[in-house]
């Protein structure tokens, strides 16, 4: 099990009445509530934590959202550049660049190649569709989101692997001359990860052999999504996907006692606060199937957001407890889902830097050594998720906690 440190780099200083008046922290929040000096201090703090995590043996993840006080990452590739400059060892997972929301796939290909080139191949390249609400800041048509994702990916891959000057006249993207410099350090290109739960995307990811990431799903939903992946991969004639083909994002906070861990870990709930975004913002027309849009209207998307802290800890979405308790949950996570990469959101909201650092250090000392061997010999493990043991029908799951 590889372990990744992640923070969304939130800006936790928006007054509650302002948040209420703007239906949450995202997409429609006037930036008069951003203080440049406090923002600078936050960036330094978050980058310091990435630096510490790297020294402690974690790999690192960055992402991006837009026009949001819940995330100050504005470009996953920019954040990756910052983190690479501060670190020496860990892989930097860029999860991800929201392809349909970026105007130029060629520029994404260049930026990721640059990151890989300057770091001698420390980059893992994530591609995402962008959560529904990102439609509003980018103003890209939600109807074309999935098709743009696929075409942008195809173009980027061509830019990484075609070493002649080529032209691309597709449906959404048009270039007469493409031949990017530099080429990626990792050849033919960095590993590609994709996050998402929609059936078409999971099956597409499986057919390409990319790593599939589930963000904050219940273990049952995560297992269902991964089973869909394994089935599609096998049907495409690929070998049975091992744990390295799967990743899971959870919250995490460990402390010497359960009581301490829960007291501080409870602050992670900040991330799951129910915004009161309009239905149109949560489910822009055409982004999802009509059936999924109906589920959004009926309030069935993001059900994890409605869970209590206690339930989230029980379900393992919150890896909160003593090191031994968390090791046991991670063992359960692997047994139920077959995941081999664990990304931990070790910070949210008003958690102090010392709280984050204490947990990072304890986890690195006591949990990482215990969970690192998990899944290394997966072909010898007799688990429920091995394809030969899996006779249940597959089904898709609804988006979990993100919006």
């Amino acid at each position: 099990m590889r372990c990744y440190h992640f923070t969304e780099m939130p800006y936790p200083y928006v007054p509650p009445d302002v948040e209420e008046a703007h239906r949450g922290l995202k997409y429609f929040m006037p930036n008069r509530y951003y203080d440049p000096v406090r923002g600078y201090q936050l960036y330094q703090r978050y980058l310091d934590e990435y630096e510490l995590a790297d020294e402690l043996g974690y790999d690192l993840m960055v992402n991006e959202h837009h026009q949001s006080a819940s995330t100050l990452h504005v470009s996953a590739t920019l954040s990756a550049a910052s983190v690479l400059a501060r670190t020496r060892r860990g892989r930097v997972l860029v999860l991800g660049t929201p392809l349909p929301h970026r105007e130029s796939p060629v520029r994404v290909a260049e930026e990721v190649a640059y990151l890989d080139a300057i770091s001698a191949g420390r980059i893992i390249c994530g591609f995402v569709r962008g959560v529904q609400g990102e439609t509003w800041p980018s103003n890209q048509n939600p109807v074309h989101n999935m098709d743009m994702f696929v075409e942008a990916h195809d173009l980027i891959k061509e830019a990484w692997t075609n070493h002649d000057v080529f032209s691309w006249e597709g449906r959404f993207y048009h270039y007469r001359y493409v031949s990017i410099w530099p080429r990626p350090y990792q050849q033919p290109h960095p590993p590609i990860w994709v996050s998402g739960t929609t059936r078409a995307l999971v099956e597409w990811t499986a057919r390409h052999g990319y790593t599939l990431c589930n963000l904050l799903g219940t273990y049952a939903d995560t297992a269902a999504s991964f089973r869909l992946y394994r089935k599609a991969a096998m049907e495409a004639g690929l070998p049975e996907p091992g744990p390295d083909h799967f990743a899971y994002l959870s919250f995490c906070h460990v402390a010497p006692t359960e009581e301490q861990a829960r007291q501080v870990g409870r602050k992670l709930m900040w991330y799951l606060k129910q915004g009161k975004l309009r239905l149109g913002a949560i489910s822009p027309p055409g982004y999802s199937s009509p059936a999924a849009a109906v589920a959004a209207l009926r309030g069935k998307l993001g059900e994890v957001r409605k869970y209590s802290f206690e339930r989230l800890v029980d379900e393992g979405v919150m890896l909160v407890g003593t090191p031994d308790q968390v090791i046991a949950r991670i063992q359960r996570l692997y047994a139920e889902t077959g995941v081999g990469n664990l990304i931990m959101m070790n910070h949210a909201g008003e958690m102090t830097s010392n709280e984050v650092r204490d947990s990072l250090c304890l986890f690195a000392r006591e949990v990482i050594p215990a969970v690192a061997p998990i899944g290394r010999h997966w072909q010898d493990d007799d688990t429920s998720w091995r394809v030969e043991n899996d006779r249940r029908p597959v089904h898709t799951v609804l988006a979990s906690a993100l919006s």
Binding site: L279, G280, L297
Partner: protein, 258 residues
Amino acid sequence: MTMTEVDSADRLLFLHDADVVPGPVGALAQLAEQLVVEVPRHPGFGTELDDAARDWDSVADLAQHYLSTMPAGQPTHLAGAGFGGWIALEMAVRAADRFASLILVAPYGVKLFGPTDREFADVLLLDPVEVVELGWADPAACHGLRMPGFPPGQDDEQIERAFLDREALCRYAWKPFMHDPRLRRWLHLVTIPTLVIAGERDRLVSPEHSRQLAGLLPSARYVELPGTGHYPYLESPDAFTAAVTSFLATRQKMGAEQ
């Protein structure tokens, strides 16, 4: 002038707004007593052409569709409301000579003001209740609209249909939002008699926008109806019918004198 001066053989092609239920609603039913009123459903909004139209991504596609499928010969008055008004404008700049007249009700389609002026309310983001608040002088009187979750009590199938309507609107009108910058430069070609109707209380498309648009059309008359919003044919059907029949009768009289 009386209503009988409208030629009952004339055909009125009325292009519907985005969130309006199918059929000759409100004043359109009244007008149907005087002339042949057709209210086709736009491809993408629940028609047998929906699949064929899946790749259409501009209002020009809809204009092309209606122009290419319109029967020749019969005198046709072209009308459109809101989103349908935009389609009608796209048709009129391409083939004004195929129509006897043009009637526009608070049309989208032309951006008139500055880049930071929000000329069109964001019906794709707003909740239905907000659309009703902005679109009706008397929101409590709202009827004839269909949006995801509105009216309340829709079953899953009806909600899915309303989402698909919105999806079609997204395909046609997402960016630039509710307008085409290439349309304004051809408005001088709309030389046919034109009536622009706006509701005094319309806050989806402001009456000022409709009034200034009328000023850019060579033969347009502007009528603002009091106590009504974005859907005057639903909210004030009598006044709407009177305005339209008066316009059509005057136009015919003018035509006879020429």
